[in-house]
């Protein structure tokens, strides 16, 4: 049912899924932010910082121009530039619950790696080491000659090793942690999207498919009844694959084809006695989905979780 491409994407998604246990003791799954997302967010933040510095310079220029060099404006500018450079990330991550402007645009957030409260100390630690982690190595890399003219060969080698180890650290651990994350005990995750699709088993929610002449939509009786023998064929995995098929965008050709293929397959597999005309296939699948879900959920209540069609009945 799934192509190699979607299988690959699924594997990547599984590899990046992390479960944290909230202080209430309930595990929540998050998806780790990839190195690309993080690098992108960082670059955006640097650009925003640069833009803010430019604005600061312009404002300071205006003020100093009118007040002379020995003015509070000049010193204010110096302090402001320092604060902006040092505390930009700290400020936003504290105020915006773990996001900075760049992270927000990309859709990622900082959380505590163990599912606790994100502490101010963690935010400080993870951001104050950035100087050594990113800027110092980059300066050495780009302008090593100016920083340390006539450096001996071994010093260059050492510097290069240092640069590589720190810059590439996120690629060499499974959680993509940079040194700052390790010190702060933090983790960067994707901001999940929240969409609640209608419940396929709730007859009331697909009332539009019922005849317009009224009736009682909430009690839309299933047209196709199923026996326990029919329902014992499949498990939870198959149920959710079926859910995926039913949830693909209706009225597309792909949807119609998938519905037809799956309906025929299920029909044959469960050895259904009644004939299902083509225009009723979707209805058949919906009824089967609802019945199967009711069946499996009931079993689950009695402590029997049937994962897929291969597990025992």
């Amino acid at each position: 049912m799934s192509s190699p491409a979607t299988q690959y994407l699924q594997r990547v998604a599984d590899r990046r899924a992390r479960e944290i246990v909230t202080p209430e003791g309930v595990p929540i799954r998050f998806t780790l932010a990839g190195p690309g997302d993080r690098a992108g967010a960082f670059m955006l933040d640097v650009l925003i910082q640069a833009a803010m510095i430019v604005v600061l310079v312009l404002v300071a220029d205006l003020l100093i121009g009118s007040a002379g060099e020995d003015s509070w404006a000049a010193s204010l500018f110096i302090v402001a530039a320092f604060v902006l450079r040092t505390f930009y990330f700290v400020f936003f991550e504290t105020r915006w619950q773990g996001a900075t402007p760049g992270k927000r645009i990309v859709g990622i957030r900082v959380i505590d790696g163990r599912g606790g409260q994100l502490e101010p100390g963690s935010i400080l630690a993870r951001n104050l080491v950035r100087e050594v982690e990113v800027w110092l190595p980059l300066t050495l890399l780009v302008a090593g000659a100016q920083v340390w003219p006539g450096a001996p060969g071994w010093a260059r080698l050492l510097a290069a090793a240092w640069v590589l180890v720190l810059l590439l650290m996120p690629m060499f651990n499974k959680d993509h942690l940079r040194v700052g994350d390790m010190i702060g005990g933090t983790m960067v995750v994707m901001q999940p999207k929240t969409v609640l699709a209608p419940d396929l088993a709730d007859a009331a929610t697909h009332a539009p498919q019922l005849p317009a002449w009224g009736g009682k939509p909430a009690t839309a009786a299933p047209r196709f009844p199923f026996t326990t023998a029919h329902l014992d064929v499949y498990g939870i995995y198959e149920l959710q694959v079926l859910e995926g098929v039913l949830r693909t965008e209706a009225v597309t050709v792909a949807h119609a084809e998938a519905v037809a293929a799956v309906a025929e397959k299920i029909h044959a597999k469960i050895d259904y006695d009644q004939l299902v005309p083509t225009h009723e296939q979707e209805r058949f699948l919906r009824d089967f989905y609802t019945a199967l879900r009711a069946h499996l959920e009931k079993k689950m209540l009695f402590g029997q979780r049937r994962e897929d069609k291969y597990s025992k009945k």
Binding site: T22, S75, L124, L128, I183, L196, D199, P222, R293, E297
Partner: protein
């Protein structure tokens, strides 16, 4: 109608009888009942994202954790009774987003800042006193090395102090020039405020560098040592002209604060290095994250100290030339820091520790 059907006990299923979906599924009913709560939480989160958590009304703010916990419990229930993938996925991401709001960093309110200043910071510094001692030791060692070397051979001064940093204060200067520099620094006195700001920014950057380099320990110790070298070389130069008393009177009013801040940064860095190199009985990363937080808090304290030192250095030092007054200020600042780091917030610290033990 939903209610009545729900209360019916499911009849034992006759063999071959149709499993009818007429009876509403438990999971469907569950969703109908709780969906209102989830939607409310969703709206609240959207509001936080748009306007920030500060703009919530007191009522909304109180409602947020309540809705979050209710939704979290919905998630637990859904996992055990519902096989609707869309529903569990939705609840999972909704809880995730709500978790950001509830357990993301707390906004630094006035209370949090006051707490930090009155006991968290002093307590953090008290807990790293051995690292402080080590960092200070390297500073003093550096100072003594340079002092004795320069006293022995004044040419050594040039290896320790670079020309641009010395700004004319070299063994080649006359005693009168050196003395004038201590009391009437005309080159900078015109730009007091700007000068103070520059000093602050420069020193704080060096300090934070010392902090961050602590990850690998050695560079931080070296930085402490080289800072000591410069200090020692200056001391030797002025001592050779019999200006020791004047030099320290010029240096200490801000130097007490500034040098403490440098040592504090170094010590915070050493905490980080130590925590992963010698993790003790705990896993390295666990130890690192716990000590890292502490180090972060201490480093912020050091930045504040650099700011204070910059103010004293830029404004006070250039305007007060009375040496007794200079020493008085030095003693006063030293006394203040000793009180602050040694004693401030002790009672609260003890109380919090006892509370933490009680929770355990």
């Amino acid at each position: 109608m939903v209610g009545t059907t729900a209360k019916q006990r499911p009849a034992p299923m006759p063999a071959g009888a149709g499993v009818s979906a007429e009876r509403t599924l438990r999971s469907v009913e569950f969703r109908r009942e709780r969906e209102g709560t989830w939607r409310e939480l969703e709206q609240l989160i959207a509001l936080v994202r748009k306007d920030g958590i500060r703009d919530l009304t007191a009522e909304q703010l109180a409602r947020l954790p309540h809705l979050y916990r209710a939704t979290l419990s919905s998630l637990s229930v859904a996992r055990s009774i519902s096989l609707d993938r869309a529903l569990t996925d939705y609840l999972e991401s909704l809880c995730g987003r709500a978790y950001f709001c509830v357990y993301g960093a707390r906004d630094p309110t006035r209370g949090v800042i006051a707490e930090y200043l009155t006991w968290r910071l002093p307590a953090a510094i008290r807990s790293i006193r051995w690292q402080l001692a080590l960092a200070a030791l390297f500073l003093v060692l550096g100072a003594m090395t340079a002092f004795f070397m320069v006293r022995h051979n004044s040419e050594a001064y040039y290896t320790f102090v670079q020309a641009d940093y010395a700004s004319g204060r070299t063994p080649a200067s006359t005693t009168a020039e050196l003395r004038a520099g201590l009391y009437d620094d005309t080159s900078v006195s015109a730009f007091l405020a700007t000068f103070a700001a520059e000093l602050f920014s420069h020193n704080a950057r060096i300090g934070l560098l010392a902090f961050a380099l602590g990850v690998v320990v050695i560079p931080t110790l070296l930085l402490m040592f080289t800072n000591g070298l410069i200090l020692g070389a200056f001391a030797a130069l002025y001592d050779s002209r019999g200006l020791s008393w004047d030099l320290w009177g010029w240096l200490l009013p801000h130097g007490v604060t500034e040098l403490s801040a440098v040592v504090l940064c170094g010590a915070a860095g050493l905490v980080i290095g130590q925590s992963w190199i010698f993790p003790g009985a705990r896993p390295r990363l666990d130890n690192l994250r716990e000590r890292g937080r502490l180090a972060g808090l201490a480093a912020l304290g050091a930045v504040l100290m650099f700011f204070v030192a910059g103010l004293i250095e830029g404004i006070f030092r250039q305007t007060v030339t009375n040496i007794e007054l200079r020493y008085a200020v030095a003693v006063a600042t030293a006394g203040f820091w000793i009180w602050y780091f040694g004693f401030c917030g002790r009672g609260r610290e003890r109380l919090e520790r006892r509370l933490a033990e009680g929770r355990r």
